[in-house]
Amino acid sequence: MRKSKNNLDERQEQMLLRIEHNGCWIAFWGLVAVIIIQRVVLDFDSGNIAGELIVFMMLALYIAVGCIRRGIWDRRLRPDTASNRIVSLTAALITGILRFAYMIKNFPHMILNAIAAGMIAAAVAFAVCFAVLQFSAVLFRKKQAKMEEEPPENGE
């Protein structure tokens, strides 16, 4: 199929990319907010928010795979154990608080159970997040090493 002519000049192209970039992150964090509200506040079960979860996971996976394939990690964070630990602890804290809030909302008289549930959820979130980040960091370092070894292309 013939590609249609691009009507934008390079400045407009840059502006469009910036708008699309902002739109992508609005969609990403909007989905996070919608999933949390539906699950914790409105008490929907996983089946009812499957659509949002699938779109969110596809978006997250696309960004993660795209970045690793091109040897990009993050603007500020480094792909090392210390940074991964901090990110995982943050994720664990948020997950624990959300789980605690969900339990307290549904079983207000079972505070100890809510605390235990929150701690277990936090521990699981930390383990999963840390393992995924460490694995991704290994893939990223391998990709970077491979890119360093590639000879420069002539005329590019």
Binding site: D9, E10, R11, Q12
Partner: protein, 70 residues
Amino acid sequence: MRNLKLKFRRIELEMSQTKLAEKVGVTRQTIGLIEAGDFNPSLKLCIAICKALDTTLNDLFWEENENEEK
């Protein structure tokens, strides 16, 4: 940083922003923003502008240290 060299060269040739934009294949706003220093054009566009104004990259886009703004 405003690109006055570009603006003066264009005026010297009695060429409007619209005409220059047409010649290099961009919008008039893009030329205006380059002259105002609000958009950094690619090397490809810089070369196209230089060709359209019959001048060189050095003449239009090279800044001496004392004129550079951080």
